[in-house]
């Protein structure tokens, strides 16, 4: 059988290779009957004309390996890759899993070299700003393999909003913030020869070097000398290595120095005095931080007298609260006020606040529908709530609903199982439902029943707040 000659374009001719493989497979031409050659001048067809043939289906891992393999500068690359394809399609579908196979090993090493070349290009391209008013950048780089096209996506993803050009001996590419165009090979002189930030960068490079750890071999293993001529910072290397031992000797010989300044006693004392000392200071911090989930009009702070006996903790502000900037002013708040009044808790003497300080919602038409805060969101606000309690120092902390309970304990627990007396860190606590739960119940009978239970809780809360903080003894006639 005669030899078939396939000629492909110079460089990484993935398209040409793909078309050739389709035809060769359709004709069932084994690798030993095919000669691959490269042409400087791009010609679509080789000595043996090949025609369009149906695609061949290859395992994804093989396809990926081919994409890398065609970029390699080895002139045998197409022959090796075709051998691999031939074997995969002729009974050795899992060939790539045998990494110890000589052919697989060789192609793996080629792919590795291409990957490394790409990685070094991502790392060592140094853009310089071009002359002119518009901000444009250009860089000169010398890759080992045909990786220009393969490297493009990285630079586009990273510098999408910039206008940049990368010039290499195998071709050039320009991104104008919209389109990528490939151009002819270039020369070093085509790139700018300086940049105003390079001196600063070199200064940085020199400063991060630790002379006590000098190890040029380790450096050269990762940054081989062939790259140095295009890296502005490498000009500093000889000097850094030369003076290293001197610098270290000087450090070691130098006696421990005595501090030249006196200890700043007052600054040291003031340093630990950083915590907010009033609710206003705390609220200012919360306001400055802004909402965790964007959308809220404002932060809604706790409200009530500074040293209230009872703190009620709800979930998060609703639509009305968000607009007015006050807690518990919406429908659930009104229900709570009514219930408090019925059992004789003076609302103006209690402190009302929420676990989460910003309204989170989903917009549906003109309506903003309350969205439950996630555990992570509740905990984001938790340190502020803890500080708030520390500043109010109440006798009793009431968790209204599961979110408040999570915020107070740091753990998720269902209300049904924990309703009643509790202890929240140093605070005596009580757990009951959130008033909005009562509003959501479907029928009147259940609603009434739940409301009665809520009132019973509030009565106990009222009594607990009056109880002796040390003995826990309730005033007469309680329970």
């Amino acid at each position: 059988m005669s030899l078939h000659r396939i000629t492909l374009k110079n460089g990484a001719d993935l398209d040409g290779f793909r078309r050739a493989v389709r035809w060769l497979m359709a004709e069932e031409l084994a690798p030993q009957h095919v000669v691959w050659s490269l042409d400087e001048a791009p010609s679509l067809f080789g000595d043996d004309e090949f025609h369009d043939a149906p695609p061949v289906s290859l395992p994804r891992s093989v396809a990926r390996l081919i994409e890398l393999g065609v970029c390699h500068s080895d002139s045998e690359r197409y022959a090796l890759l075709y051998q691999l394809i031939w074997r995969v399609l002729n009974g050795e579908r899992d060939l790539l899993e045998i990494a110890s196979d000589p052919l697989v090993h060789r192609i793996d090493m080629m792919a590795r070299a291409v990957r490394r070349d790409l990685h070094k290009m991502y790392a060592f391209v140094r853009f310089r700003r071009m002359q002119g008013e518009l901000e444009r950048f250009a860089a000169w780089f010398e890759p080992d393999h045909f990786i220009l096209e393969a490297a493009a996506p990285f630079f586009i993803d990273r510098f999408r909003s910039l206008d940049w050009t990368i010039l290499t001996p195998i071709g050039s590419m320009r991104w104008d913030r919209r389109d990528l165009t490939f151009g002819p090979p270039a020369q070093r002189e085509d790139a700018p020869d300086e940049d105003s930030f390079e001196e600063g960068w070199r200064g940085y490079y020199e400063s991060v070097f630790n002379p006590a750890r000098v190890n040029p071999n380790a450096m050269r293993a990762e940054m081989p000398k062939k790259y140095w001529r295009n890296l502005p910072e490498t000009a500093s290397i000889p000097g850094l290595i030369q003076t290293a031992s001197q610098r270290v000797d000087a450090m070691i010989e130098q006696e421990a120095t005595m501090p030249s300044k006196r200890t700043p006693e007052r600054a040291l004392e003031a340093m630990w005095d950083q915590e907010p000392k009033t609710l206003d200071e705390l609220n200012a911090i919360i306001a400055k931080a802004g909402p965790l989930v964007p959308g809220a009009t404002q932060a809604v702070f706790g409200e009530g007298p500074k040293h209230a006996d009872i703190v009620f903790v709800g979930e998060q502000p609703g639509d009305q609260e968000d607009l007015q900037g006050k807690p518990f002013v919406g429908p659930a708040g009104k229900l709570l006020a009514k219930a408090m009044q019925e059992v004789g808790i003076d609302r103006s003497k209690a402190y009302l606040t929420n676990a989460v300080k910003h309204f989170k919602f989903e917009q549906r038409g003109h309506r903003r529908i309350h969205a439950k805060p996630t555990n992570g969101e509740v905990k984001h606000y938790r340190p502020w709530l803890m500080k708030e309690l520390e500043l109010v120092r109440p006798k009793l902390v009431v968790a209204l609903g599961a979110t408040a309970l999570l915020a107070l304990t740091g753990k998720s627990t269902p209300i049904s199982r924990s309703r009643g007396h509790a202890q929240f860190g140093p605070y005596r606590g009580y757990i009951t439902v959130h008033p909005s739960y009562l509003l959501r119940l479907p029928d009147e009978a259940t609603k009434r029943e739940a409301y009665e239970a809520f009132l019973a809780d509030l009565r106990r809360i009222h009594d607990l707040a009056e109880a002796d903080p040390d003995t826990g003894e309730l005033p007469l006639a309680a329970e």
Binding site: E97, A99, S100, D101, H105, A123, F124, R126, R129, F137, A139, F154, D157, R158, R160, S161, D195, S196, F197, G200, W201, G203, Y204, S207, V208, F209, N210, P211, A212, R213, V214, N215, N217, M219, E222, L231, I237, L240, V248, M251, I252, Q254, A256, T257, P259, P264, A267, A270, M271, D273, Q274, E275, L292, T374, G376, E377, K379, P383, W384, K387
Partner: protein
């Protein structure tokens, strides 16, 4: 670049270089939108290497090296006479953006000396991160050093802007902390680590951004008398309790203007390197910390051979291991075989029988591996029991530093 800014950069980069971490990994693949700048890759990129062999990936600087703390090992402690400087928030933002546009860096690693108060310092660092993300649409990597003494809500906020957070433990024992870092406190450091761990996990579940590349820490080796075994026990705890992405080990190195209470000698670089190897055994090779401790000499790792080889030499009765039949767990214990090589062997042997030359194609550590393994055409026979096996396998001493 402005002369004054260049000078500050030199001072504040020099002041930050004793932090070993410079990695830009773990943030996943993120791309800038049309007006934004920057991206992240899964494994990060090293843009340069300095003559100490270390990678330069991030712009690693301090906001200021003025500091109220007085940690003996630190070049920036308040009693040191080093030159001081302070960046403005805008200066750090400009440097980051302009360096990034020229492809010098993957992003910013910002730390700071403590000025005024921990909260004030942390707030200034957060301002930098916020400005980069919000005003400049910066999508590159941001690593923020967390100040454990700062209020907890500032740690909550830091995770919203950063890709990675870290608190350096620096000293593995409470006793050393008390002696060498009087303003620091082990309990508050671990409290902050726990808070970050919890929030990182929750955010991952809820698919929100909170330090997606996790947290890391660093311990200094050689500034106190802690043994390698105790350092590794501490690491095992940090990995276990707080899911640290990395524990960095930093050989204590002479600093200009050093404190009288610390050793002035060359950094124990080989010790540092052995600790990293042992650390990998803990994380990727299924070793328990006590196994490594037992194969050390009085708690110190063998400096002549790597810790896996040291362990194998003391457990020769478990070898040789057959590459064609042994469990993956046992193959991982063969000296000279890396985790990747083991995975390839295990996959390949499903289709073929492995000979020694097949193994040779998959690892560069065959010389160390040979006495401990069996292949289809190879058995070490008595080689494993040789008295001088350790001597034969000692790596040629490498010039690790000028002092080695």
């Amino acid at each position: 670049m402005d002369e004054k800014l260049s000078r500050k950069l030199r001072i504040l980069a020099d002041a930050a270089k004793y932090d070993a971490s410079c990695s830009s990994s773990g943030a996943g693949g993120r791309k800038a939108d049309i007006d934004g700048l920057g991206s992240t890759t899964a494994s990060g990129i090293c843009h340069a290497y300095t003559p100490d062999g270390r990678c330069v990936s991030l712009l690693k600087i301090l906001l200021t090296n003025y500091c109220l703390f007085d940690c003996a090992y630190c070049v920036n402690r308040r009693s040191s006479n080093v030159k001081r400087a302070k960046f403005s928030v805008d200066e750090v933002v400009t440097l980051t953006i302009e360096f990034y546009k020229r492809n010098y860096i993957e992003g910013l690693f910002l730390s700071s000396g403590i000025i005024r108060s921990p909260d004030y310092t942390m707030e200034q660092m957060l301002l930098v991160a916020k400005k980069l993300r919000r005003d400049h649409g910066f999508h590159g990597y941001i690593h923020l050093k967390t100040i454990p003494e700062a209020s907890p809500w500032l740690i909550e906020e830091a995770g919203l802007w950063a890709d990675r957070l870290s608190i350096n433990l620096e000293l593995p024992t409470e006793r050393s902390l008390e002696r060498l870092a009087p303003e620091k406190d082990g309990a508050s450091i671990e409290g902050a680590m726990a808070q970050m761990f919890e929030r990182i996990e929750e955010a991952r579940e809820e698919r929100r951004h909170f330090s997606p590349a996790g947290q890391t820490t660093q311990m200094i080796v050689g500034a106190d008398d802690t043994t390698d075994a105790d350092v590794l026990r501490k690491s095992a705890k940090l990995y276990g309790h707080y899911a640290m992405k990395r524990v960095y080990y930093s050989a204590f190195s002479p600093i200009p203007d050093s404190s009288a209470i610390l050793p002035l000698k060359s950094p124990p670089l080989m010790r540092e390197s052995r600790l990293y190897q042992a650390d990998w055994l803990l994380r990727y090779y299924g070793f328990q910390v006590e196994e490594i401790a037992e194969s050390s000499e009085q708690g110190m790792l063998d400096l002549d051979v790597d810790p896996k080889l040291a362990w194998a030499l003391k457990n020769r009765h478990l070898f040789p291991v057959d590459v064609n039949h042994a469990e993956r767990e046992m193959l991982l214990r063969v000296p000279g075989l890396g985790a990747r090589a083991v995975d390839k062997l295990v996959t390949a042997r499903r289709h073929t029988t492995l000979r020694l030359e097949d193994v040779a194609r998959l690892t560069s550590g065959l010389k160390r591996a040979k006495p401990f393994l069996i292949a289809a055409d190879y058995h070490p026979k008595a080689g494993l029991d040789r008295q001088n096996l350790r001597e034969r396998l000692i790596e040629k001493p490498q010039q690790l530093s000028l002092f080695a």
